[in-house]
Amino acid sequence: MDILEYAWLIPVLPLLAFVFIGLFGKKLNDLNGYIAVGGVGAGMILALWTAFELLTTGRVYSTSQTWVVLSSKYTLEMGVYLDNVAAMMLIVVSFIAFLVVVYSTAYMHDQGPRRHRYFTEICLFVGVMLGLVLANNFFQMFVFWELVGVCSYLLIGFWYERPSAARAAKKAFLVTRVGDVMFMIGLFILFTQLGTFNYEEVWHALDTADPTMMAFAAFFLFGGAIGKSAQFPLHDWLPDAMEGPTTVSALIHAATMVNAGVYLVARSFPIIATSAEVSLFVGAIGGITAFIAATMALCAPKIKGVLAYSTVSQLGYMILGLGAGAFLWHHGHHVEGSIAFGAGLFHLMNHAFFKGQLFLGAGAVIHYVHTEDLAKMGGLGKYMKVSMITMLISCISIAGIPPLSGFWSKDEVLAVTFEAGDAGLTFMVLWVLGVLTAFMTAFYMFRMWFMVFGGKPNEGTKHATEHGHHKHEAPIAMLIPLVVLAALAFGSGFSLFIGDGFFGAVYYEHAHALSVGERLTEVFTSPLTYISIVAAVGGIVLAYFSFYKTNISAEKVVSKGFPKAMHQLLLDRYKFPVAYDKIGYVGVYGFSLLLDKFDRYVIDGIVNGIAAFLTAMGGVTRKLQNGFVQSYATLLLIGVSVIVILLYVVGVLR
């Protein structure tokens, strides 16, 4: 039996759970969660099996069948395309989704009948997300892309009676829509130029395609990724999306859906690599996003806010890696480009694990203290040992301290960016931004960790420990996912050393297999590695002294002058929400007003003008109808005379 032939079942199993819960789940209460666990779990087993088969054999499997026939030349197809990248995504998505659903059974316990809706939507999400990964063409990907967008909208607005949640859901939907429209434009260009959406056919057709049009297609496809993966300047929806339940933030807005944009960039990697400019643009957007999101995370007041900005920042790293890869590939460095491609995806995988863990840990903390405000926490380490230790592992991992997973991938991304700097100076700047981001990442993650678990208990902690219903650590169904994900946050980087290593398994065209010894020598003989380690350690030490030992008072630093203004600017998120509103108001509303004027004065003007002209003409001609019988008689006489004369003349001429 070839398991790959059954790969289409992977998204179907969670979708079956979705249909079942959606139709019959209303009265099932707790059972909903178990059905969801069952459906998603079955999908996960199949996905892991499929991924194992793909990664061990290195096979590429694809099937497709015609879906819509547009004309004899143009058809749309549905199918399955499985390669190493899809395998990695399958592992990440299905595994984290399973853990999050398990976690949700406990986390959403007090939501009553709402659980029905929650598990319905989460199963739908898992199904369509897996479908997105399996797609064999850009159009099918787009269909699932929109479906995950809908699920994201529904789940951000889970507590729809809160105005802020409803607004956040709307914002997420509308802002990603800007990217989706660009994605669609990219699809149109691809289809009109190449006549196909199929990944393999597109990749093969690139050599003969018009390079200008392909550059445009790459640019617009990347526009889709900017929206979905919350890249600058469309990043502002993600921090707002934290209005949803924390499990949703963990699954959709940290570990899976936002990675769809990165996955799209990976799938359109060859198209992007046809143009140096677009590659550079991709890398620049990634680097800039990583940097500015990290700055905003420095002073975010809410625990989930820190994680949201951190997610945006880390996604920036992934995009930066892929952009650098495309740039290197374009300049003929195929092996390095392929490694960079792998580095971006490697970071995607590691990030999904540690950020999923951090969000779930934050969920446990919020579950305990019933507040998201960092200033109200503190001293929780005493009560939540498991959460504290697992989150510490993830924090160290994301900060980039060896040998945890974040170190390997972040270091690789920075290394390839530095390498791309040889071909284009912009990448040197991006590398500097990346190193600064690494420093800030370590700082803000440990700021969060110290503020939550260290120090004196603040009001939220006190209130929870004195009056809370549960003065104990989170339930077991929440702890297991925390521990498993922490283990992966610790160890997923070691996939570099299994078999041919990560870059020997997930790559673009050129596998880069290195033995353990070679890999270690390569990493630890490079001065770049030490720069990023120093940056990370520096960030942790600074956070330790300012938020644990309080030798350096953060409040004092930002109390006056330039730091104060900067702090306010960061709290205002660089005025991005204001700018969005302004653009929405001036751009969209202004345009609507313009259209209103156009309708009122031009369209209505034409219609009314015709009517007025006819009335005026009638006004002229009706004067003939003056009521004087004699004038009628005169006209009659003249008319008849003219006719007679004409008849006579015609008669003579004939």
Binding site: K623, Q625, N626, G627, F628, V629, Q630, T634, L637
Partner: protein
């Protein structure tokens, strides 16, 4: 026998006089009389051609025409009488009710 042309000229002259009367006269009774003149011009034509072709049909038509003209004058005068009663005028320039 009087040549046909002479009769036709007479009838044409009569017709034009009648038409001029219809157009120019302001008194409704005069207009009515002018119409009668035009009808008679037509009658003369009918009779003249009847005699010229030796066919009695034209004379028959002329008789009908005279009868209809009499009936029409009766109606016309009745209208004028009522009009005079209502509006105290028979000047056609004042009777322009049938307009926009």
């Amino acid at each position: 026998m009087i040549p046909l042309e002479f009769v036709l000229i007479i009838s044409s002259v009569l017709f034009v006089i009648g038409a001029a009367g219809v157009i120019l006269k302001k008194n409704a009774i005069m207009v009515l009389m002018s119409i009668e003149i035009m009808l008679n011009a037509a009658n003369i034509n009918l009779v003249a051609f009847s005699s010229y072709f030796g066919d009695a049909t034209g004379q028959g038509f002329a008789l009908f025409s005279i009868g209809i003209a009499a009936a029409e004058v009766t109606i016309g005068l009745a209208i004028l009488l009522n009009l005079n009663k209502l509006r105290k005028t028979v000047n056609v320039d004042d009777i322009n009710l049938l307009r926009w």
